[in-house]
């Protein structure tokens, strides 16, 4: 009997610290698969965020840097400029990329830095206990919006992918979801495309992944997947944005 299915070599064989039903593990794996299929493991340098995925380097078996909260794209900019032959990607949550790091995000995109961004949108701050994120839906209850997000006080879910798509130097933006096997397959394709763009020198590429956080949505893992499918996608439609 031969082995017909195995984890990608770029993913370490270790137990997870993520909650049951969390999407990070899937996203980590998709990236590891793409890195192996494109045979770029020895060239990749990842930039990990502050948030639940701060220790992403415990799972990926390639070079990695931490970044201060929100600063991943400033660090990635310099890594790529200094080492243009390496493949640089950031892995950032919604708070990291679209709140505290909005400035770094917009300007790296506007400069057209030839890097890849994996943007995990789970509509909540996970690591700190489920506070409102820039992408929290109207009416969604969080630790800091006890009655649900109120647009009059807290504004609207920030569609940063659509904002970035408007910048002339941005090459590729796609929103995908991790709520079903079919969508995960599409997510994998998008990750591959975003890396290929960088290999080809095509410029700034971003993949936004809608990702379940059952713990801070107050749902079971299965309910969380259904919530993405039935509710979240209405606010954050899937597909190629640019």
């Amino acid at each position: 009997m031969g082995k017909i299915f195995a984890p990608p070599p770029s993913l370490r064989d270790t137990s997870t610290h993520y909650c049951p039903g969390c999407g990070h593990g899937i996203a980590h794996r998709l990236i590891a698969e793409a890195v192996d299929e494109l045979e770029i493991r020895q060239r990749v340098i990842a930039v990990a965020p502050v948030g639940c995925a701060v220790v992403a380097y415990d799972y990926w078996d390639f070079d990695c840097s931490e970044a201060a909260h929100g600063r991943a794209l400033a660090i990635a900019t310099a890594l790529k400029r200094v080492r243009p032959d390496n493949i640089i990607f950031t892995y950032q949550g919604d708070g990291d990329l679209a709140a505290i790091g909005t400035n770094e995000t917009i300007h790296a995109a506007n400069r057209g830095e030839n890097v890849t961004v994996i943007f995990i949108n789970n509509a909540v701050y996970g690591m700190t206990g489920g506070q409102m994120a820039p992408t929290t839906l109207i009416g969604q209850k969080t630790a800091t919006t006890l009655q649900g997000r109120n647009s009059r006080l807290e504004g609207y879910p920030l569609k940063i992918s659509e904002m970035l798509a408007g910048l002339p130097a941005v090459t590729y933006v796609e929103r995908v979801s991790l709520h079903s096997p079919q969508e995960i397959m599409k997510a994998k394709k998008a990750v591959m495309q975003a890396f290929k763009n960088q290999i080809d020198g095509a410029g700034f590429s971003l993949v936004e992944m809608l990702s379940p956080c059952p713990t801070y949505w107050g749902l079971t893992p299965v309910q969380a997947l259904a919530w993405i499918r039935d509710t979240m996608i209405k606010e954050f439609p899937l597909g190629r944005i640019k």
């Binding site: 900019t77 310099a78 390496n86």
Partner: protein, 357 residues
């Protein structure tokens, strides 16, 4: 004779950095250090290096983090309010044990303050500045020649100890023009330190991780002790200072940077008047040259000290720590654009001299 080139302090710092092998610069406009950024914009590409005008001071210091993590000699520069913004990044650089050089051409504060020369960021520079238990090496050039030369030392120390090095100048030093001799560049020849920790892609080796996060119980304490050991080694071996007329001094003035040049003139004037006055000029502010002061305390009758600063008394605290109550320590300073003049210093010194003679 080697040729002399007329440069502003800001330009000399940039040129010194380039000659010392700096190949990455990120900065953001702020007065009075803009000539440094402009010089880098013009000359960094000639060296095949990377120049980026960042969208903020915060981004600039994080770009330095990234470039340094990739193994490149990297620096940024700014002035006081901008340096405050960089403190987050400096703390992370210290925590990740990355080499980096940060130039602060100090201006008046607090807040937006003004653009006049100042030394009011001494505490921020020498006490870490950001969050956590860390230190930066702090160099204090006084002339444009020294500003140029100290960049070689700054990059060497940064690489050797994997530590942020702050070059602490002020608006006066940044803006004044003086002739610079490049022939003394011998001291600046880039030394290459191996960087096996750098992020280059994990070809033929295990993956490298650049990080400052230690969540496991006891791990951060262990790491912080490692930092402390490094800091102690630096304190033992990297203290630098200049001594002027100390042999028979009854009154010793302590000053650094451009302030020390004015104080030196005052000391010379006092000597002409027959007063036994000397000067200690720290060239490193951290580590502070306590030894320069403490060896004078071993004299039969230790001298009285007076710190002179363009602040309302910051370095004087390090003088007092070194003296530890064994002899009087006085202070004279002005801040917010006020610069202690030679005559003011002479007057204060004479008064003090008479009181303690």
């Amino acid at each position: 004779m080697p040729p002399k080139v007329l440069l502003s302090g800001n330009e000399a710092i940039a040129e010194g950095a380039l000659q010392a092998g700096c190949r990455f610069y990120a900065g953001y406009p702020i007065t009075p250090q803009n000539e440094l950024t402009a010089y880098m914009a013009q000359h960094m590409p000639e060296k095949g290096g990377v120049f980026i005008q960042a969208e903020s001071e915060t981004s600039a210091i994080n770009m330095v983090y990234g470039a340094s993590a990739a193994g490149c000699r990297a620096m940024t520069s700014s002035s006081s309010p901008g340096i405050s913004l960089k403190q987050e990044g400096i703390s992370y650089i210290a925590g990740a044990q990355l080499p980096a050089v940060i130039v602060n051409v100090m201006r008046g504060g607090p807040g937006l303050g003004n653009i006049a020369p100042s030394q009011a960021d001494y505490f921020q520079a020498t006490r870490g500045g950001g969050h956590g238990d860390y230190r930066c090496i702090v160099l204090a050039p006084a002339t444009v020649q020294e500003a140029y030369e100290c960049m070689g030392q700054a990059f060497d120390l940064a690489d050797r100890y994997r530590i942020p090095v702050i070059v602490l100048g002020d608006g006066m030093l940044g803006q004044m023009m003086e002739p610079v001799t490049f022939s003394r560049i011998g001291a600046l020849v880039p030394k290459n330190y191996p960087k096996p920790w750098a992020l280059t892609g994990c070809k033929d080796r295990k993956p490298n991780i650049v990080k400052s996060f230690y969540l496991a119980e006891g791990a951060l304490e262990e790491f912080n002790l490692l930092l402390q050991k490094k800091y102690q080694a630096i304190q033992r071996t990297q203290t630098r200072y200049e001594e002027v007329f100390l042999d028979d001094a009854k009154l010793v003035l302590v000053a650094y940077g451009t302030m020390a040049r004015i104080v030196k003139s005052a000391v010379k004037q006092l000597r002409l008047r027959g007063k036994k006055v000397g000067l200690i000029r720290p060239l490193t502010l951290w580590p502070f040259p306590e030894e320069a002061i403490q060896k004078m305390l071993r004299r039969k009758k230790p001298p009285v000290f007076m710190a002179v600063e363009m602040s309302y008394g910051q370095m004087v605290q390090d003088v007092r720590l070194a003296v530890n109550g064994k002899t009087p320590v006085e202070f004279y300073g002005r801040s917010g654009g006020g610069i202690p003049a030679e005559e003011e210093i002479v007057r204060r010194a004479l008064k003090l001299y008479a009181a303690h003679s």
